[in-house]
Symmetry: C2
Subunit: 250 residues, 2 copies
């Protein structure tokens, strides 16, 4: 039926250059979020942040009560979390917050490395200088947060760093998948930063990535990205090993 026609005079396409600055200033149209979406966001955030522990059961009744929504919504939310592998559902037994095994964590980090390499490559090839400068500015903020040992702030800034990187790379598919992978290891990433010296080292690694991108040196940026993710992976795996050797009761 209604195909996308070539921009009727009164309703310009969203990417029309004249209004780009305005669109950016106002931000996305703030879609009237559905109950379902809000509920999904809340549970997802709780899982990602670790407020709901891995392995914890999520019974429908409890979720209904906690969220103040109907089972209809809760069940749809669960399907979404299941698809993102944040919960694991067994038939007739309900969902549990997914646990991360060392093997899975390793696989996620390895794939994350390839994904980020891909994005960095695209960024070097395509991103405007403005995005690059934004990346450099964020690198400064990262350094400041790191010196202050402000892990929470660091996480927030890193999120903006990724947003900028993926915006410049302009690769929706890779961005999308990277985001779901990062969600799965989000607790682990915070844990890994607790390793003494890890924060300082990671700042150096990120600086190297930004510097390579600044030189538009794709090969160097690729190497630097791999080095960064692999270092993060190894730190994360060490933390998993520690956690495993010293269960809560030790």
């Amino acid at each position: 039926m209604s195909e996308e026609r070539p921009a009727p005079s009164d309703h310009p396409a969203p990417e029309s250059p004249e209004a780009a600055w305005l669109a950016e200033a106002i931000g996305p149209p703030a879609a009237p979020r559905l109950v379902r979406e809000q509920a999904f966001g809340k549970v997802k955030a709780a899982i990602i942040s670790g407020r709901i522990a891995p392995g914890a059961r999520l019974t429908e009744r409890a979720l209904c009560a906690a969220l103040g929504v109907s089972r209809t919504i809760v069940r749809e939310v669960i399907r979404g979390l299941e698809a993102e592998r944040l919960v694991q559902v067994t038939a007739h037994r309900g969902p549990r917050v997914a646990r991360l095994t060392a093997k899975t964590a390793r696989e996620i980090y390895d794939l994350r490395a390839e994904l980020e390499v891909l994005l960095v490559r695209d960024f070097v090839a395509r991103a405007p200088d403005a995005d690059l400068r934004r990346l450099e500015a964020l690198l400064g903020e990262i350094g400041r947060a790191a010196r202050a040992e402000d892990v929470e702030g660091l996480v927030a800034i890193m999120a903006r760093f990724y947003t900028t990187l993926t915006a410049g790379a302009d690769n929706e598919v890779a961005t999308d998948i990277l985001e779901t992978l990062l969600a799965r290891i989000s607790r682990l990433r915070v844990l890994a930063m607790a390793e003494p010296g890890r924060i300082a080292r990671s700042v150096g690694e990120i600086a190297e990535i930004v510097a390579s991108i600044g030189r538009r040196d794709a090969a160097a940026a690729e190497d630097a990205t791999r080095a960064y993710v692999y270092a993060a992976r190894d730190a994360a795996l060490r933390q998993i090993a520690l956690e495993h050797d010293a269960p809560p009761g030790a």
Copy 2:
């Protein structure tokens, strides 16, 4: 609560070697598929095969009628399809079967290349010889189907090829994501094989991959895999361009 204890004597862990042959002979426990899962499978298959055209609306009532299930189920199914990006949902407007733009297709193929490289690398490093021999056997079948111009058979055999490859690579995360990407481009892959000579060339490319794996030459296998996927990508993009230049009514 109930942690996974080290195999109570009467209920051995599924990977206990003694019964491996039996497990393989019987196959997976044929889980009592829920209505939800069956419905999901049906709609997914219909979309992947193209029986439901891209852009088509999927109204809840129609799905309920077609599947003989309640709205509860239909809505959960839709959430699943949405998460796999097989349908695109707009609030208050319902889901439509996702359309594939050239840009998205390109991104998917580029990522697919990295994913398959990763899997091939893992396969070379880890897979037992038995899996390798199975791959070689499948290569033979692929050649036969190709000479017979049997596209449908080819698709089926390629699916088994992937199953063997991913089983040997033993990387669940990468396998999982590769599968969702392949689902999204499944129609396109069939379309691309319609290009004259594409089938024959792809057989050669696959043969090269298998040969490199056989020599346990990871670097060569990686190159061969990239060559194969990129060739498939270019063929697919050409078909998209054709389709775009010649809309149904021409």
